[in-house]
């Protein structure tokens, strides 16, 4: 029964032209569009080093993370240099910005602030990099606090005072913190578009799952009524339909990966096991989203497809598909939105794989996707528990 349903479920899904368009063709078209639209822009601007200023005050000099990180990014190694930094006082920084000699300047007072005049790519990069360093500084502070607490408990506070500065610098140097590789060699602000494209495709898998499930539910389709009156275990049928959806979706993602890697020369990094893990988890999230939309809403299939497409497109937009600036704005002003946004979880997973040398952020995204999937599946199971309906 399981294999019988799996076989025909695969057959119907692969022959569904609308489904194949949205999940196979549309991402390829969009990827090609991104490639044509952005590659020239990026190539022409790739080697630019961004002129910025930092207000050289006491607060800045006391911030180890900011000082060390900006020093590295304006570094001696020209290949990896991202910024050309002028250390100035506040008045001069304002003048430089006013005269368009710098993209923006960093002012550390109670908290670090980036001041820019316009919202171009260079300004966004400066903001984003500063934000990254600040986030890591918080992590650093937490680690120091933990260390302090344990040291106080041990009663050896003097030892802490002696070592804390050395430890902090050591952590920065050895990348035991999540310090991003934001050198100009690595930094590509169009990569995010391709990450969101993969994320969008994974979530579009929800359309496949929803279509397959719709065919199995008596209150959703005539075929579902016919299946419901047959002597088949509903869980078996639904599970085999979901498996077929997963297979179709993974094949679609594989095609997209191959196309972007070999035809569009997109670099996803070299950690293939993690890339596969993220793709599978992302697909699971997409599938469970489709399962939830399919089972919870009693509306026609086209409307359900519309819900999944709209949700995915909005999620993609918020996670940076139409430009990294949006991701920055959301991450800065409403971080909860992207924490709950499954497209961003996938996008950010790729992003962290590419830029970070550690996996903390990557695993956070994987766990977030699993939690999202679990919630969707629980909601679906609650809806699926009904074996008889009030109306069909």
């Amino acid at each position: 029964m399981f294999l019988h349903n799996l076989k025909y479920s695969l057959k119907t899904l692969f022959k569904n032209k609308m489904l194949i368009f949205w999940t196979y063709a549309f991402p390829l078209i969009l990827g090609t569009f991104f490639y044509l639209a952005f590659s020239n822009i990026e190539n022409s601007e790739k080697l630019d080093i961004i002129d910025i200023a930092i207000v050289d005050n006491e607060e800045f000099n006391n911030s180890i993370a900011l000082k060390e990180s900006f020093r590295n990014l304006s570094g001696e190694n020209e290949q990896e240099q991202l910024f050309n930094i002028k250390y100035v006082d506040l008045a001069e920084a304002k003048t430089l910005l006013e005269n368009d000699e710098i993209a923006g300047y960093l002012l550390v007072e109670d908290s670090p602030k980036v001041i820019v005049k316009t919202s171009g790519i260079n300004e966004t990069i400066l903001k984003y990099v500063t934000e990254e360093i600040i986030q890591n500084e918080d992590v650093l502070t937490n680690i120091i606090e933990e260390k302090l607490n344990s040291t106080v408990i041990d009663g050896s506070i003097e030892e802490f005072i002696q070592n804390v500065r050395e430890d902090a610098i050591s952590m920065l140097d050895t990348s035991s913190l999540q310090i991003r590789d934001i050198t100009s060699k690595k930094l590509s602000y169009t990569m995010i578009e391709f990450y969101t494209l993969i994320a969008m495709t994974a979530l579009y898998g929800g359309i496949i799952g929803m279509t397959a499930i719709n065919q199995n539910l008596a209150n959703m389709s005539n075929n579902g009524k016919r299946i419901a009156v047959s002597p088949t275990n509903r869980i078996k049928i639904i599970f085999s339909s979901l498996l077929s959806s997963f297979i179709v979706q993974i094949i679609g993602l594989f095609i997209l990966f191959m196309y972007t890697v070999f035809a569009l020369k997109v670099d996803y990094g070299n950690n293939f096991p993690m890339i596969i893990l993220l793709s599978l988890t992302g697909s699971l999230a997409g599938l469970s989203l489709g399962l939830a939309v399919g089972t919870i809403f009693k509306i026609n299939e086209n409307l359900k497809t519309g819900i999944i497409i709209a949700f995915t497109m909005l999620g993609s937009f918020l996670s940076g598909m139409m430009g990294i600036t949006m991701k920055y704005i959301i991450d800065t002003n409403a971080p909860i939105v992207n924490k709950l946004n499954p497209v961003n979880m996938i996008t950010d997973g790729f992003y962290s794989l590419y830029y970070y040398t550690t996996y903390n952020r990557f695993y956070f995204n994987i766990i977030s996707l699993l939690i999202f999937s679990l919630i969707m599946i629980i909601l679906s199971v609650l809806a699926l528990r009904r074996q008889k309906y009030d109306s069909i």
């Binding site: 025909y8 008596a218 389709s221 016919r226 299946i227 419901a228 009156v229 047959s230 002597p231 008889k388």
Partner: protein
């Protein structure tokens, strides 16, 4: 005769509306039971309750002597259902559609293949095996819908208005197929609002209106419920009012009307009415184009019992 299906005091409500109102009936082995009623009378709701697709407020449903439940797979394996709406996969051809649904009942591939061939033959789709649903006409699609529902050779078959919107050729083909199913030993529950089909097919008829059984019995038994026994229609160019009034006074006449060149007379009893009328029309020198007599139909019974046409 053995009872295959028993429905006792079934009540199904949609909020305050009673779609099925205390319905009880039995179906005996090998019979074709017709559920006759106008659209919205509760026929399909009754079927969906019997099949455990719909919740119902109260009542008991027993099939093959066991209580019907959603997970009663031993019962379900011997049931075939042809729903009013066509239920097939657009992406699968005729053979694959039948194979898919038949495969939900029969694992053995060899036996399944034989069942599929038999079903295709029964509904006359031999020349369309590789066709996809969108390539089939409405009638052929209905035939495929039936084949998908009965290919596994069920002992109890529910046919819910299987001939809605089909051409006469397909309708005849479908009706022949249903007779063959019965001849092969299946018990059939056939819902329709076409009384001609019920008259041709059914051994017994239950007439439902507003969720209630208003009459049941064989076709003849039901017709006896009607106060008329004969209907005579005469096509006449013109008819004098006096003659019409005289006809109304004839023996056995229940009602006589003349509209748009048609004289229509209903008789309470059905003996020598036509010959008497012909003699009278000759006597008063009224020429007619056509004259014919009919037995009352189940539609007349329905009209008599409810005051409305079956197809309203």
């Amino acid at each position: 005769m053995k009872t295959i299906l028993s429905v006792e005091n079934l009540i199904k409500k949609y909020k305050n509306f009673k779609a099925v109102d205390d319905l009880s009936f039995d179906v005996k082995k090998g019979e074709i039971l017709g559920l006759l009623g106008p659209n919205g009378s509760g026929k399909s709701t009754t079927i969906n309750c019997i099949l455990s697709l719909l919740k119902f407020e109260s009542g008991k449903i027993t099939i093959f002597g066991c209580e019907m439940r959603p997970d009663a797979y031993d019962i379900k394996k011997d049931i075939g259902v042809v729903f009013q709406e066509v239920a097939v996969f657009e992406e699968l051809n005729v053979i694959d559609n039948i194979d898919y649904f038949c495969g939900l009942y029969i694992k053995d591939k060899e036996y399944r293949k034989k069942c599929i061939d038999d079903a295709i033959k029964l509904v006359g789709l031999e020349d369309f095996k590789k066709f996809y649903p969108k390539q089939l006409s409405g009638g052929l699609l209905r035939r495929l819908n039936i084949a998908c529902g009965i290919a596994h050779k069920p002992k109890l078959v529910f046919l819910d208005e299987p001939t809605v919107a089909v051409d006469p050729q397909s309708r005849n083909n479908i009706l022949d197929g249903i007779k063959k199913l019965r001849d092969n030993g299946a018990t059939i529950i056939y819902t329709t609002h076409y009384m001609e089909e019920v008259e041709i097919l059914c051994d017994r008829v239950i007439i439902i209106d507003k969720g209630k059984i208003i009459a049941s019995g064989t076709g003849d038994e039901l017709k006896e419920l009607s106060k008329i026994e004969e209907k005579v229609t005469v096509e006449i160019d013109s008819l004098d009012e006096k003659i019409l009034e005289e006809i109304k006074q004839f023996k056995n006449v229940d009602e006589a009307t003349y509209n748009n060149g048609i004289l229509f007379i209903t008789y309470k009893k059905g003996k020598n009415n036509l010959s008497s009328l012909i003699d009278y029309l000759k006597k008063v020198d009224v020429h007619y184009d056509k004259i014919y007599s009919e037995r009352p139909t189940l539609n007349d019974v329905f009209l008599y019992l409810t005051g409305k046409e079956l197809r309203d």
